[in-house]
């Protein structure tokens, strides 16, 4: 890991990252998330999963969710022309009893919190069949979403995970918050 400054005012990303680190960690990353790093992360992630997960299907499930969430974050940071320390993000895959716990953390603009919160609230309020219907509906409409993505990211993640998407928004400065997203995947 590169030795960059991790403090922004009172906010310390390393401290948040350490919260998730344990003996059960299968994969973790903390650092910038630009194009090259994203590619490297995906390569190392897949290798770590292949080394420690029980089956090809388990690897596929976890990898699928992480491709979606990391590209979601990358697209967001790129779209906002973020630079410097605000490009830092982390990702975790931790094994727990009967499932895998995934956590991601990234900076975001305070002005975007409301729309992200409402997307998460919507997917959390739906059961599996309703999520399937919503996914098909959005797929059927076509076109790009406001964020330039497909508008399917959170729906896809919710569909593939078990239980709710847990989110936390931590104040960083006037313009930025730090967004932590957690979900469980049953294998």
């Amino acid at each position: 890991m590169s030795d960059f400054s991790l403090m922004i005012g009172e906010f310390d990303i390393k401290e948040k990252y350490n919260r998730f680190f344990s003996e059960a960690t299968v994969y973790s990353y903390l650092g910038h998330l630009d194009k090259k790093q994203l590619d490297d992360v995906l390569i190392h992630l897949e290798k770590s999963l292949s080394d420690s997960l029980p089956s090809k299907i388990a690897i596929k499930k976890i990898y699928n969710i992480l491709v979606e969430s990391l590209q979601n974050i990358f697209g967001y940071l790129e779209g906002n022309n973020e630079n410097g320390n605000f490009l830092d993000a982390f990702v975790f895959v931790n094994k727990s009893d009967s499932c895998y716990h995934i956590a991601t953390g990234n900076f975001m603009m305070r002005k975007d919190v409301r729309s992200i919160k409402s997307r998460i609230e919507i997917v959390n309020s739906l059961d599996r069949d309703e999520l399937k219907d919503l996914y098909r509906g959005v797929l059927d409409i076509g076109g790009e979403s406001q964020g330039g993505g497909a508008g399917l990211g959170f729906i896809d993640m919710a569909k593939r995970s078990s239980g709710e998407l847990a989110s936390e928004f931590i104040d960083v400065d006037d313009e930025h918050v730090f967004f932590i997203l957690e979900l469980d995947v049953k294998i």
Binding site: K35, L38, D39, L42, I43, I57, K60, K61, Y63, N64, V67, E68, Q71, F74, G75, K132, Y135, R136, L139, D140, G142, G143, E144, G149, A150, L152, G153, D156, R160
Partner: protein
């Protein structure tokens, strides 16, 4: 017209589109950050194809991974094929591994929202 082919990369699929035989294939991984840009040349090629399609069009989709932005592009590709209905015997073969329920479900999603016949095929 020429065929449209592309060799696979770790993030993008093999594309094989034969205008004469109507054999089409998308296989491997489709996880580019910018799917719209990646698929644009294929979309343009398909626009030409649908104006004079082969009597039979068979599209094999055999993907290990695809991201949500690719799924939007797949819908658009399938919708282009809808334009050949009536001029070409067109069918999509959606392959998935037996235990991969997510990939099977994705095939069902597409089957529900497009008019081209789509057959789910279990890869052994």
């Amino acid at each position: 017209m020429d065929n449209y082919t592309l060799t696979p990369t770790p993030k993008t699929p093999r594309l094989y589109f034969n205008s004469e035989s109507g054999d089409f294939e998308i296989s491997g991984r489709s996880i580019p950050e910018n799917s719209i840009e990646f698929y644009r040349p294929l979309m343009e090629w398909l626009d030409k194809y649908v104006s004079a399609p082969s009597t039979k069009t068979r599209m094999t989709v055999n993907l290990e991974y695809f991201n949500t932005s690719s799924s939007k592009c797949l819908v658009e590709i399938f919708r282009k094929l809808e334009k050949t209905l009536g001029n070409s015997d067109v069918k999509i073969l959606w392959h998935y591994e037996e235990e991969d329920e997510d990939m099977m479900e994705s095939g069902e999603d597409f089957k529900k929202i497009i008019k081209v016949p789509l057959e789910l095929v279990v890869s052994k």
